[in-house]
Amino acid sequence: MKTFVDKVLAQAEFQPARLLEVLRAVQAEFRHIPEPAIELIAVGLQIPRTQIIAVAEFYSFLHLAPQGRYELYIADSITDRMLGNQQVLEALAARLQVAVGGVRGDGLVSLNRTACTGMCDQGPAGLVNGYPLPRLTPAKIDALAALIEKQVPLNAWPTEMFRVEEPICRPDLLLNQAFVNGAAIQASFARGLAETLAELDASHLRGRGGAGFKTALKWRSCAQQAATPRYVICNADEGEPGTFKDRMLLDLYPDQVFEGMTVCAAIIGSNHGLIYLRAEYLFLRDKLLAVLQARREQGLLGQAILGRDGFDFDIEIRMGAGAYICGEASAQIESLEGKPGIPRTKPPNSVVCGYQRKPTVVDNVETFFAATHIAIQGGQWFAAVGTPQSTGTKLLSISGDCQRPGIYEYPFGTPVRTILQECGAEDVMGVQVGGPSGTFISNRELDRVVAFEDLSTAGSFMVFNRSRNLFAIAQNFTDFFAHESCGFCTPCRVGTSLLKNQLAKIADGLGAAEDLTELSALCEVVKNNSHCGLGESAANPILTTLLSYPELYLQQLQYQEFAPAFDLDATLAAARRLAQREDPAAHLNQVEN
């Protein structure tokens, strides 16, 4: 073990910031983080062992107890459920003789659920040792089980099993643009960096990660910071269930994303770029490394880029390890520094005090992709499309009840109705716009438009038809937040679990009018007091479904007044057993009627 850990530590150049990378390697080798490794890493990186345990317990794909040599995860997002993930889990459990959530006795295989694999358009999906298993069918499950039983190494499995499709159903302004490597860097140099920033300003581009901060403003204020070095971070931790457009961009348009980062580096004066890739996109890593290498050979990365003296910039890929919260910029920075992904307190903002406490721009994959084309075509070209507050186009990842799930590019301002028509959605009950943290809209609101002015979204569009159960949707999302809360602050740490239990009480038909009032009040406490966006939006699934379909919630109530959260009589069973009584007086009625 020592030899292995030493090798891994050396590869990480003994940098504590690269702890996640070290732990990922150890996990891949030993299927968990063994106790002796904790000691070796603590000494090697000169960090307290508690930091290693804290990190291992924080990220879903790291474990302190051994997992199977074939580590299976099945996606549990609502669309995967609608596509039959439960049958997949049951079939796998039966075929492989392993319990869901357990490890088989011989240690060969473990089977777990995971929140989202980034393949909501091709579910039911899963992961094996970090690699994607899209569209799991009964035939594929048989094949997979056979490969595992025969202990065939992953690299000898048919590549077909891992093939992720990138269905681009509707390209528009950006996806249709021709592109030659280096064009955006060249255009920026020719025009001048200050002028390029002015074009970006004129484009009114706003961050595509959801919050919608003006990109030019962020880059400018970072450029104005006195401190150096400065960093460019590409946030590729696309964790919002139902969103997979960054996956497509990195898969099909990686040069255009890297080029946007390079233009940003030139403008803010940075030498070092990082791309934080979500764990579920491990399959893209080798491909992206090759693209980076090719760009170095083309003089688009490295020293004196395109012959310009003094402009040195390179990009490093860092993998996440399964934590939705790491999509939040400051949590991502903490993660990049080798810590649990807990959002920092603001001020100061990351632009002032980011990675390694230095000025940092963190932008989403799609933002850099758009910036590349703005650098070439100019701001006006982009600003001419969309609405006044939301210029340009937006990539949408559409999944759920529609004939053509996939990626769509629409000018901002497009009504939901149009989008639903084009993706072939019929008999719609509602749409979850922007993933669990976004908004549920009912079929009475389909004239609303995708734009920062109305429905802002990072790009997730989940469609539900009228056969779906509203509570199943709200519960899936609420459980998701309870699972993904980082636990830093009281309202979210405790509140999301309370929300989960309170909603379950109502959904299980045990609710009374009082419970609904309590649920709404709890939503407000969590929303209004949480530290970051996760807690602020954790109540949205309940609040927005309640707003769209209040009658469904009311129908679900069992009692008008009060209903206890537990079965009073059942809890007395142990006492009855001890007292050896079964007479009527030893029983209690649940509610006096």
Partner: protein, 238 residues
């Protein structure tokens, strides 16, 4: 930078580098808090100190005081939210106040008195948590931990030791100890450490000191936390 700001309509001075809560404390205004302590790096996790600064909600303990800020703290709505957050802390752990030797000196209890908390309101989680009684002088009862991070900061920043850390996420958060066994007796904590004194609840206790002052004569038995916290919080240690 120094100057004045207003809090609940009252104009108060602030000094450079002060947070809103510190400026308020120095001016004799109590903003409820649990994870904050004068002299410690701000943390901002309990959220009891949530106030409006110029109309925006934020934590008073992490927000820098600045000239002409308009801070709103003492409103029925904010106090109600503070009550709910305190109740959340009570149901998250296992707090048997009548039998806790910290009773009367516990800040969680003191804040609950201040907010007129009469019940726990939320259903209990009844988590299974351990007691670490391994150390000869110091007791660690995980049942009462509210994850305020004060012991972590005390050990790291004041004792230079890193004895404590908080691991896990969501409702599975837990306090961990820096030793191979995970037990306090194998860590390098000492009875003189600030980390043994700083816990606002009864999670970290010094053994054999419990009933030297009888219950009924302790800090918050005699004086409300709103008064005590202003004057003597620095000396909240035994």
């Amino acid at each position: 930078m120094s100057g004045t700001l207003t809090i609940d309509g009252k104009t108060i001075p602030f000094a450079a580098g002060q947070s809103v809560i510190e400026a308020a404390r120095c001016a004799g205004i109590y903003i409820p808090h649990l994870c904050h302590k004068p002299g410690y790096a701000p943390h901002g996790s309990c959220k009891l100190c949530t106030v409006f600064v110029n109309g925006r909600k934020t934590s008073a303990c992490t927000y820098p005081a600045a000239a002409d800020q308009n801070v709103v703290s003492d409103t029925p709505e904010l106090q109600q939210d503070r009550l709910r957050l305190t109740q959340m802390l009570f149901v998250e752990g296992n707090h048997f106040c009548p039998s806790c030797e910290k009773s009367g000196n516990c800040q969680l209890q003191g804040v609950a008195y201040h907010l007129r908390m009469l019940d726990n309101h939320y259903p209990h989680f009844y988590p299974q948590r351990q007691v670490d009684a391994s150390h000869p002088d110091i007791l660690l009862d995980h049942n009462r931990c509210i994850f305020c991070n004060l012991c972590v900061r005390a050990s790291r920043d004041h004792d230079g030791k890193n004895v404590f850390a908080i691991a896990g996420r969501g409702i599975n958060k837990r306090l961990i100890v820096n030793s191979a066994s995970g037990q306090l007796k194998d860590s390098d904590i000492s009875i003189d450490d600030q980390a043994t004194q700083v816990c606002p609840t009864g999670a970290i206790l010094v053994k054999r000191t419990g009933y030297q002052v009888p219950i009924g004569e302790r800090w918050y038995d005699r004086q409300p936390i709103s008064e005590l916290a202003l004057g003597k919080e620095d000396s909240h240690e035994r």
